[in-house]
Structure formats: structure tokens, C-alpha cells
Amino acid sequence: MAALKPSRRIHDLFAVNPQATLQLGLWVALSIVLMTVDHRYHTLDGARAVLATGLYPLHYLARAPADLRDWLRTNLAGRTVLLDENAQLREKQIFLNAQLQKLTTLEAENRRLRSLLESAVNTPERVLIAELLAVDFDPYRHHILLNRGRQHGLYVGQPVLDQQGVIGQIIRVDPLTATAILITDPNHALPIQINRTGARTLALGTGHFQELELPHIPNNEDVKVGDLLVTSGMGGRFPRGYPVGTVTKVEFDPGSPFAHIVARPVAQLDRIREVLLLENAPDTAQPAAAAAAPAQP
């Protein structure tokens, strides 16, 4: 009996608990059901919203170190640095004001011409500023979490911009937060237009922050490196004329009907801190909600 004891202990070390295996099976089954429901039917959005609101303070806590660093930088900056910055900003302000003057006259002219053509007048969009709370950890899925939600009037499909250009669109709205998909997400397609020639196509996300792909441009189309891409307004989600990217590579392959064209987003997607949310005039936003949806919202 005494000799048996140690061997049984060793055996214990390798014991497999069949009950645990059964348990695992049940939990896995539950996960699969949950994932299917969440992915196909979106009926769990309410539950998710409740949980997301509970987790809201966590995101703020996670941001605390970065916020502290920013705070220290602004508060401990030397006087000369601040004066320098101030002078630079003032200069920029003057420059921008000069451009703005031109813009007002152009806008007025544009409106007059449009009314002459009897086309719809572009209503000016309202803009809301949101801050970035978190970036999706999954490197192959470019989603960002913003600190504004349904409470602030956000809606699914709302365009998201930064100072330079288009970033993406809102795909999920929770009470206090919202998730946006970036234009570089592999599942995102954005209707665009080449500013110089007016040729229309899509800008597809590639999963790289610096790359967009432009499919369906014929080999004989006039595209050059450096061409600016702007939103075409097709599909109705994005208003017309916002900068999206610049063409960085044009390759003609005689064997294929379409050119291989790569562009770089003008917005710095990997270092976003604050974003602008455009609010379309409701009558233009509603009908086309489905048209420009990402392949898998």
C-alpha cells in the first residue's frame, strides 16, 4: 500500500478531468452561438452597449499616461518655446485667414452657379470633435474607438475626418462611445474621384496605414503619381470633395485591363488623437445609407 502511494501521486499529475472537457465544450458552443448571432443578426448591440458603457472609465484610465505626458509637455514647456509656437501659430492664422477670404467668395460663387444649374445646394455640414479612446489591438482590422456616442448625436455611417482629410466612418454607436472603421481597413471601400481628371473609382483599404488601392482604373486612364484623390460623394455617405489621399504608385501591366494604382491617405491614420465628425444634412444622409457601406460593416 505504501509503495502504491507515490505512483498514484505521479498518476494524479497527469490526470485529465473529463468534466472540465465537457465544460469547455459547453462554453465553446455558447461562444459559437454568440458569435453567430452577433455577426449575422446584430441583435446583441443593446447588451454590448450596456457592457461598453460599464467599461468606459477603463478606456480613460488607459489613456491617462499619454494624457499626463501631454499635460506635462504643455505645462512644463519653457517660455521661449511657447513664444515660438505662438508666433508660428499666429503666422499660420494669418495665412489661413487669407485663404478663408478666398473661400467665402468661392463658396458664394459656387452657390450662385449651382442655383443657375438648378442643382441641389450643398448645405454646410455641422462638425463635432471627438477624441480617440482606443485603437483595435487586432493589427489587421483598423477600428478606432471614439469618446462620443449616441448621447452626442452620432449615427452609423457618419463620416470621420481629421484636419488633413478623410479617416473613415462610424460603424457602431454605443451610448457614450462609437467605433469607427478606417479607410485603410481591408473591408472598407470609399467612393473617390481623381481631383485632376474627375475619373471615379473606389479606394480600397489594404490593412496598411499608408496604402490604399484603386481598382478598376483602365490602363489608358490619365493618372499620375501625386494626383490628389477626393471623395466623389457617390453613395451619399461622404460629402463631395474632401481629400482622401495622393497617388504614390502607378503601374501599367499590359496583361491586365486595369492599372495597378496605390495611394497614400492624406490623414495620418497611425497617429490620430482628435477627429472631426461631419453631420450631413439629414435628407442627404438618409437614403443612401446602404449604398456606400463597407463590405462588412
Binding site: 497527469f14 465544460q23 461562444s31 454568440l34 446583441l44 457592457l51 488607459a62 485603437v135 489591438f137 467605433t179
Partner: protein
């Protein structure tokens, strides 16, 4: 005894909270590639240390919270974490005998399984990983395991969580 249980739950919750924060800290690119999933590692620790209090279901619920926090598909991390809790639970008798460094290799396997499951599900819903880098956080986790193990063990002993 009852007070020890109460404090214990509080400490465990805090450890998960900190792990979640550690996973969400914005980092430079080179580091973030290897930045381990701290929540999964803390889960492995508590599953090894307190298998009677900390079951597969607990792992599943923590995974679900991670799903919500990261905006992932509901159930994606839950499934992976349940699998990790299962693996850790089945081997905890052996792993407890090992030194932290030897444990680290088993932890590597658990984390690889977790990464694989999470990204496999991503692939199914149309986000396949582009290259093998998605497994790198598991390696980072292996490297960090001995440190985490020692810290959490001391915490557990200090608060006398059993």
C-alpha cells in the same frame, strides 16, 4: 476565512483591471508587436494558482468583457480564454512543480493557442491575418511570464488568497 475570500476576489479583479490597462497602453510599433496579452496571462496565473475558485466559465466571462472592451466579435476572446483556462486547468498540477522559466514554455503554448483561435475566428469573418506576426505577442508573453508569475505570487501570498 470568509474575509480572506472577500479580499481575494477584490485583488483578483484588480489584477485583471491592471492587465486590461496594460494591454491597452499605446506603444511604439516595434514594441507593440510583441506586447503580450496581459489579461490572458493573468488568467493563466489565477487558473494555475486557484483552479478550484477559478473555472473555465470565469475565463469565458473575462474573455467576453475583453471582447466588449476591444470591440471584437462577442464570444471571440471568450472562446479563446475558455480554451486557455481549460488547458491551464488540465496541466496545473504539473506546472505548479516547475520553475517560472519552465512554466514559461507551457504558457507560450497556451498563448499560441489563444492567438491562433482569436485570429482564426477573425479570418472566418473576413479579416485573415496578413502574416505570421500575429503570433509574436505569445513570444512576448513567454518572456514576461516569470516576472508576472513572481509578482502575482507575492501578491497572492501577501493577501493570503487561497
Amino acid at each position: 476565512m470568509t474575509t480572506a475570500h472577500a479580499t481575494g476576489g477584490w485583488v483578483i479583479a484588480c489584477s485583471f483591471l491592471l492587465a486590461f490597462l496594460a494591454s491597452s497602453v499605446p506603444l511604439p510599433d516595434e514594441l507593440s508587436r510583441f506586447w503580450p496579452d496581459w489579461v490572458a496571462m493573468v488568467l493563466i496565473y489565477w487558473r494555475l494558482a486557484l483552479p478550484h475558485r477559478f473555472g473555465i466559465g470565469t475565463g469565458w466571462w473575462i474573455g467576453l468583457l475583453v471582447d466588449v472592451g476591444r470591440g471584437a466579435l462577442l464570444g471571440q476572446h471568450a472562446l479563446a480564454f475558455a480554451a486557455v483556462a481549460y488547458l491551464a486547468g488540465q496541466t496545473h498540477r504539473r506546472l505548479r512543480l516547475f520553475s517560472p522559466w519552465r512554466q514559461a514554455f507551457s504558457v507560450l503554448v497556451f498563448l499560441l493557442v489563444k492567438q491562433f483561435l482569436v485570429f482564426w475566428i477573425s479570418g472566418v469573418i473576413g479579416y485573415p491575418p496578413r502574416d505570421g506576426w500575429y503570433l509574436a505577442p505569445a513570444v512576448g508573453g513567454m518572456i514576461c511570464w516569470p516576472l508576472l508569475f513572481v509578482v502575482l505570487r507575492d501578491v497572492r501570498r501577501y493577501f493570503q488568497i487561497t
